[in-house]
Symmetry: D2
Subunit: 488 residues, 4 copies
């Protein structure tokens, strides 16, 4: 069995919610479908009707998880949903989000995008006081903090609980009579607010609004709670925004859909500009520009425009790809990459080719693509990346391989060129990357490139954070590089 | 339930086979995966081991139909496979291909791409002599003809049976000790022969060879049988090739994967040239060229090069799309097209846009795409199609809507422009289309554009042929335009 | 995996049909449920509505095969159904009954209980003339004979086809406008006719009528066709009844449900009388009579009455038993029999026990039951069987083990007693068995006890007949005793 | 859809466990299979291996819940399991037992047979202190009590938690290194201890030991904890046994399998004696005794012996019955009872029949059986019940219908006879019932006959207790009679 593993960082989930709209769960279902690229291994929706919750959650992609019948069971005018990555195994289902519990005050459901860096400490403390955890997801500590809060008003209980957790979180929280959207003071992950009819929509990306015809209003601010209730929308700060925000710049580089507005600006525009600046910084004489589909397309378009070179669609991607393939036991050379890509020989034979992609993680896939281009007769191959070298792990909701596997963390540029067998390789500079962002007043987290982590974390959290979204706190996975990172 | 209906003609199946190679069924499985675009509603493989057949067939895409276990059951050094479209309903499974039967001489399996125009007459005659049909597929008449043939050698029985059927067929036929590939004298549908190790591979398109590392040798010729046996490969003509071949030109326009060689030449090259000639014939002043993904990409690249205009990827396609979606009962404007496409506003706002696609069938999807571009602020929108107007049904293996639904069959160019709400619309000319083909010595069937049908058919067949691949011969579906067409 | 194999002969299927009644398929479904003991590995129903057939067939028990939805799809006022045994494997589904085909005259469906002894010869002859068989079931030859018959009236085509087949058959045949019930001239297998409302019901046993509230009219006679059409019921002989009928006496001994009337008389009465005569023939002094549930209960009641001994329910049967169990790899002594039976110690401890069962096949289960009784403290154990020793195979629709496995075929009475570890064992005499039958004018087939086969068969058929119901004609299973038998 | 509802009280689950034996989970699986009659709607097993738990739980019968693969995943030398009834709906799966959680001290799993009468009070109190409940099962309060216990040793934490709960419980509790069996001080529900190899087995009934070849040692005593650890077996009292034990006498009347020893004595013996005393108390002149299978068989045997009347098996039970049947919309008279029973006419026609069953609940099924007997020609029908009239609900783990539905709670004996249309009806007396018990020194709970409840309960619990095993505490189901009962 061959797993069509993406040689890319993986996003830690997407969230969507609707308040005060007919068929709320169907709208959330569609928004999750638009956010499918943020998490393809599990999905769930909790709907609210007259103080009762209805839940459907399962492994698989949105189209597999929900049926006409199961969606019909999700009655009510409000709903929240979640798409996620997860590790495989028996724990998957119980870890499915949104988490939903019944406790002394009634029902509570939470959908979380991000990663809490002090979840493990809080969890151990709560367990010592007799709390029983249902899942191994970091999000559950928040639920127990709320359940144990002495504060009478739910909004206060949530506020004081959020004060205790640290890290990255864009949250949707639903109770018997409220839907609350909250974003950590650094604003690591995006969270957009929209209007649909007389009600509201919330989603990780605006492309979800486009699908259901909702109108984008604004982002939920760092440190802000947007509270939706019978009396409409109100806003409250539970923590002051951080001095410098720390928007995840990888959303603009790779994660988000190019047709989304992220952190208030156009993702497509950011990516095309990344390509243009890349061309300015590291252009090389060549005959044509070839994007690695689909991740490199926007930057390649920008590069080609800037370099005034023809853009060729010389790499064809197979879009019928499922997640696993049955591999012959006999050797098929470069099997995995062939499943996803094929080269159009006529377009590259005898040509000098600039291949544009957004980033290099392990480099294994890129190496095979380049080999295919060479076999198709490309005379020269130059690799250009529209982001700086990734050298550090992320603790705020992205799932990179371990440091040892990050090619740029352990190899020089020359070594990378040799490994990829290219005539040249060039990354975008950090300065160039920041310069490409549409709103120059915004501050971004770029820790994965630089190691400057905006939020401190203790070693223990660090270990736990390695497997971000479906973090199995109870199991200490091997994380050999964690020590080094924590010394910084 | 919303069905993500493709507003495109549908191909009538793809075939793949392997002779004398380890894990033959796994290789065929991979080839079917590469041919998935030719038929996504059913798949099957029959393998041959020591004179015994093993079969797995089911509805669904290749990844759903086969499991590690089911593939492991398909033992043997030879196998043939099939991907297909089908109508839904109880008859689907029994109509699944490859058809496989046991008869007096042993086992027989057939995988067929194409459409027989005199199947219904032959079927009725056979039934009157007591034959019992298992399916409603046209291919089954061939099997009964073989079973009733007095010729003793299988190859002779097949030859004489093929002499009786008329129409389009690229066939793979497997017996206890042979794999035979045969193509009708007109060569309507493609069929390529390759080499893998000491054995052979056969496939509708060469992209299937690329995936498994087989080497393309040549096409099976019109009227030729390629016979694979223990003694290796031999070839035999069962009918003289038609004076003029009738290769399906729609393979080069839309059906085949651009990375395939079809009828011996590069599909990508043909498509880019279609785009270039389109630009020469009907260019209009504009700011940028936008392809409709994925069908319009190659032609758009050619158009942009020729017109020296920037190519923009302004239409983003959602690749997670499944086949059905649950639609809210409340109205979402242009729901279906939004599921598949979203526009990048920044790229088109205030611009004059040339939208390039390969063809127009109903025009419904194009109309919605254009509406989205206008809503995103496009100043002008010009539609360019890299093929002539489709006005006639196909009887050789393509599945068009009925004539009444073909927009070009019933509307003038002006009416089409009004319907699409474009500033201009232009099709490629028939001459331009033919000129774009890489090998100018080849003769193509272009009946869907011109009504010049290379092979005669009787009215009865015509009625039957309306639903090509999974043709339910026994049921006369409504085909109001059939009369008119047959008068020509 | 432990298979809860029944150490009993297996019946070759049951049939049921309804003509001219509302919800015909639901009535047939209920009748099949009442006939479930006649075949538990597959079930199917074909219904007729305005000349169209609707079919549901699958592996499994009746409750698994049919759902509310699938039954609802079986519309129409007429239907026939079938329950069957089958060998496992890929061929199972295609062999499911009722067989249904479309041929030159329209639709045809057949449900068959019995076994044709010359199916293989006919099949080979038909294949040589180009017929293609869909299944490996003997019944299919009948369908091809009908399809090739030159007789114009369907009833005539059926008659002349039935003249060509030999063996045991109780058939239900349905066409576009007829339901015909036919029974071979010997009447091997039962077939009862009943009245329901204005319509008719047909079933292997009358217990099926009791469930749906149909009234038993009479049996279909040997050599008779009962024809149900729009003009009501008519009858016709297609062959003269055999001089001596050959009703299967095992129906009265074991197969049929005791609450059924079989061959016109009460099965319960026959069984109780078998027990009474058994007591008269071979009584031994003892304290109590214990039946092996459920097969030995009726005879044990008769025995206890006759012997004036108390009947004790000392063997408790687990009725939740499924068909397979997961067995520990560590040894559990007599695992299989413990799954089905447990002994009530208090009832047998220190007692002299007469154990009554209907028959011995391999004797393996009986041996274990006796061991359990001894371990529970039984002082003496005497085995009494309410049928003579089974020593010969059946070619008319029962599935015995091969002769080598039949304990009475290869062992003396003394050896059997030693094997079973009983103080004594006694079988009923053939004369006693015949004397117990309620209607002394009836003639029974008792070939499995005596070797007097009423219908000749050739060696080739014999080989084929070994696996009766789901006979895989194409595969010559090992049948070492076949030669010997055919010499008789 | 017709549900084959049992017109009998329903048992509230069965438990089984194994300590220190190879393939522990397979042994537990087999024991659950032997206990299937105690709960057919859900099953689960938790195994222990090196301090890790492995869990398989699902709806359905044992044979459906476990597969070869899932059992293979339940590795370890210790395991506990559970079979249960449950209400249908979304909550079913999460309520499945054994409950298993991870908490501060490690893993904890609990399998519970019985009903806690103060669960709701404890639950509310715990929730107010911030506990979050995962299920609506009463058993979960025990787990939270343990998690919050300040006692350091697990055995002490369990002891003090058990002191807080009241009601009926036979428990199996497993931790990382212990398996503890505990029974409430009244001993309502049975719990037997056995020896298997070097290890131990625990089960609700001894028939589970017979299947796996375990040897019965003794019952777990009321108020006792049997502690199995690495150092073997030890015992400890957590509460003094109640002055008078309160063994559930319905176990001996109906619930347990007759081949089990229950409360240390033979269930079969008790039942046969119930029948004998019934005959002494209320015999009537008749021709034969007919048991209602299977519930009335043992008592009928006793009755027939005592009355010196022949026992006839005149009611045939269909053992292929599933749980639901698709009923024709047209009326079939007495459909439900016909699915389960059929009458052998010959055995009762013209006879005076005594029908023996264990108990009457609603009386609806009995009424239909009697009607069938009359239609079969029975001259007289006399109903005899081997237990006193059931007039009160049970709060200790049996699931009766509400009082309004209990025929004996609302009707006089004469009215019952009229309703059943019998010539006479008679119940066993309470004194006769107690006299039939094998060990006259034991004290039984007979509250369902007399209203003398051994353990007090508050009204709130009472409401909650109505749906015993899968008690949905959060939902106040309609329980109209609860008020009345609580006034007593």
């Amino acid at each position: 069995m061959f797993t069509a593993k993406n040689d890319k960082p993986r996003e830690a989930c997407g969230v969507a919610g609707v308040w005060n709209a007919g068929e709320a769960s169907k709208l959330v279902y569609l928004m999750l479908y638009a956010l499918q690229h943020r998490g393809q291994e599990g999905a769930g929706i909790v709907s609210l009707e007259n103080g009762l919750f209805h839940t459907v959650r399962s492994r698989g992609q949105v189209a597999d998880v929900f049926s006409e019948a199961s969606l019909a069971s999700l009655v009510g005018q409000a709903a929240i949903g979640h798409v996620r990555y997860s590790t495989t195994g028996s724990s998957v289902l119980k870890n499915a989000q949104p988490l939903a519990v019944e406790y002394a005050r009634g029902n509570l459901a939470v959908a979380h995008n991000g990663n809490l860096v002090n979840a493990e400490e809080i969890r151990q403390e709560l367990q010592e006081y007799g709390s029983i955890f249902q899942t191994t997801v970091d999000t559950e500590v928040l639920i127990h903090l709320i359940a144990r809060s002495p504060r009478k008003k739910f909004v206060d209980a949530l506020s004081s609980s959020l004060e205790k957790v640290r890290g990255a979180y864009s949250l949707l929280v639903m109770t018997n009579d409220l839907l609350i959207a909250a974003r950590d003071p650094y604003g690591f992950r995006p969270l957009a607010l929209g209007k649909i009819g007389d009600g509201y929509a919330l989603a990780s990306e605006t492309c979800a609004f486009d699908l259901i015809g909702a109108e984008y209003l604004r982002d939920v601010e760092p440190g802000e709670m947007v509270i939706l209730s019978k009396s409409g929308l109100s806003s409250q700060r539970f923590l002051p925004p951080a001095e410098n925000s720390a928007f995840c710049i990888f959303e603009n580089i790779y994660f988000s859909r190019p047709d989304s507005h992220i952190f208030g600006t156009s993702c497509w525009q950011a990516r095309e500009m990344l390509g243009r600046i890349l061309a300015r910084e590291s252009h090389v004489d060549a005959d044509l520009v070839v994007p690695v589909p689909d991740s490199g397309v926007c930057a390649a378009v920008g590069y080609a425009h800037e370099a005034k070179l023809p853009l060729e669609i010389a790499l064809i991607r197979n879009h019928y790809i499922g997640r696993t393939f049955i591999e012959p036991s006999q050797h098929i050379r470069d099997f995995g990459v062939k499943l996803k890509f094929n080269v159009v020989r006529e377009s590259v034979a005898g040509k000098r080719v600039i291949v544009v992609d957004d980033s290099l993680v392990r480099g294994t896939t890129s190496r095979k693509i380049i080999k295919m281009l060479r076999q198709a007769g490309a005379r020269e191959v130059h690799m250009r990346l529209s982001s700086p070298p990734v050298t550090q792990p992320c603790f705020y909701g992205m799932d990179f391989p371990t440091r040892q596997e990050l090619i740029a963390a352990t190899h020089s540029l020359e070594e990378i060129a040799t490994y990829l067998r290219v005539d040249s390789v060039a990354y975008l500079s950090v300065a160039g990357m920041l310069q490409a962002m549409p709103d120059q007043s915004q501050k971004f987290c770029r820790a994965c490139f630089t190691g400057d982590y905006p939020v401190d974390f203790q070693k223990r959290s660090l270990l736990a954070a390695m497997d971000v979204c479906a973090k199995e706190v109870g199991q200490d996975a091997e994380t050999p590089d964690a020590e080094k990172v924590s010394e910084k």
